[in-house]
Structures are given as C-alpha cells and as structure tokens.
C-alpha cells in the first residue's frame, strides 16, 4: 500500500460511477434511479476534487459547487415530475411510464 495518487481517486470515482450506471440501467423504481443519478454526480465530484488537488488549482472546487447546485435543481424538478406522473398514472415503475414512447 503505497501513497495515494490521483489514480486511486479516479479508480474509486469510476467504480462509483459504474455502480450508479448499473442502478440506472437495471432498476425499475424511478426513485432508486434518481438516487443512482446522485451517486454518478458524486463520482464526478470526487474526480474534480482529486484533480484540483493534483494541480494546485481551486477551479475544480468551484465546479464541484456548481455541480452540487445543478444536482439540487435536478432533484427538485425530477421529483416534481415523479409526483405529477404518480398522480396521473398511479405508478413509479418506469416500465409503465411509456406514454411518450410512440
């Protein structure tokens, strides 16, 4: 176990990213899909912080704040859509939310 390099952080964040993608692809409960998207955004943030430290540059930290703000906006709008969908179709299963499919 040597010292921690940016490679370690990138591997951790890619593993977290792939777990999130796995959740988005295989789950049918739309709330769990949203939580997986939050995991993906967290993976991106870990990357940004790691490279910000590596290059001694604060811009990465600032972009993490922007990503968090956009995640908050996404969660608010997405959960509003889930509520509206539930009111109309009485389901949170994405396989039944196919009114826009064809």
């Amino acid at each position: 176990m040597g010292p921690i390099t940016p490679t370690h952080y990138v591997l951790l964040s890619s593993a977290l990213f792939m777990i999130g993608v796995f959740g988005v692809i295989t789950r049918r409960n739309i709330i769990i899909i949203f939580m997986s998207i939050e995991l993906i955004l967290n993976a991106v943030n870990i990357n940004l912080i790691a490279f910000s430290l590596q290059w001694g540059n604060s811009i990465g930290q600032v972009f993490v704040l922007f990503v968090i703000a956009v995640a908050a906006a996404e969660a608010a709008v997405g959960l509003g859509i889930i509520l509206a969908m539930y009111r109309n179709k009485e389901t949170i299963n994405i396989d039944e939310m196919n009114v826009l499919k064809w």
């Binding site: 939050e38 870990i46 001694g56 604060s58 908050a72 969660a75 509520l83």
Partner: protein, 167 residues
C-alpha cells in the same frame, strides 16, 4: 500511511453503501443508505483537505436533497410493489453485461496504472480552503455563479408548478 488507510476505509464504505443503494428493495432503506454514502463522501472530501466542499456536501446533499427524496417517498403511496411489472422488451442482462465490461476495463486500467504510479501531488498551495475557493468563485466565476442562482430559481418555480394539484 494514515492517509492511505483512511482512503481505503472511506473508499470501501462509499462503494459498499452505493451497492446497497442500488440493490435494496425498500426505497426508504435506500434513502438511508444514500445519506450515509453522502456523509462518507463528505469525509473523503475532508480527508482531501477540501473542507468547504465537505461542508456544502453535508448541508446540501445530506441535508436538503435527501429530505426532498423522503418527502416524495412518503407522498407516493405504494399500493402495489413498484417492480412487479416488467416491460417484456426490457434487457436487464444487456445493461448489466455492459456495466460489468466497463468495470472489468477499469480493473485492467488500475492494474496497468499500478505498474507506473502517477506522481504524488506537490500541492503546497492551500487548495480547498474557504478563502481560496471564495476568491476564485467570486472573481473569475462570478457570472456562472449568478447563472446558477437563476437556474435554482427557475427549478424552484418549475418544481412548484409541476407538483401543483390543479390550475
């Protein structure tokens, strides 16, 4: 050495709780695991010397977003289990195989990279402290900052309109 142990411990916890989030049957349990995951990620930020981002992670993610999720789970009443119906055209195994392939690729990249480790960051500058982050945020990035505030306002109005019962 302490840094190495901290990283492996926090990284293992992050991945463990992420797996629990995507694999749990009960949505409320999933949200609890998500909170724990966010808090461990905040600890990772703190171990990377980024205290301000760690604080924002706890406040916004673990404090704000998760409460939104809990509200929605409580409003959405499960009369029938959400996963009982599956689209016959659904190809779960294809998605699982694709993510497994990318994960295998990551393992190969990690094994390859461990042969030639990247240089440890010099990082003598005080990256991550509140003062340095604020200096960049409020000088060079003041216009994106204001745009993000407008985005949050628009999202708030949009969420209220979407969640309204009737016009």
């Amino acid at each position: 050495m302490a840094e190495t142990i901290t990283f492996y411990m926090l990284g293992g916890l992050i991945l463990l709780f992420a797996v629990l989030v995507v694999s749990t049957r009960n949505t409320v349990h999933g949200i609890i695991f998500l909170v724990i995951d966010f808090l461990v990620v905040a600890l990772l930020y703190a171990s990377m010397n980024s205290m301000f981002v760690a604080a924002i992670q706890v406040l916004v993610y673990a404090g704000g977003i998760v409460v939104l999720y809990l509200f929605v789970v409580m409003l959405v009443n499960h009369k029938r289990p959400p996963e009982e119906y599956a689209d016959p055209n659904r190809r779960n195994w294809l998605g699982a195989a694709m993510t497994a392939a990318v994960l295998g690729e990551l393992v190969i990249i990690g094994a390859y990279a461990s042969l030639r480790p990247a240089a440890v960051s010099a990082s003598a500058t005080k990256v991550g402290y509140v003062k340095e982050t604020a200096m960049v945020l409020y000088t060079d990035y003041i216009i994106p900052f204001e745009l993000v505030s407008i985005l949050l306002l628009v999202a708030m109005v949009g969420a209220i309109i979407l969640a309204r019962r009737e016009w």
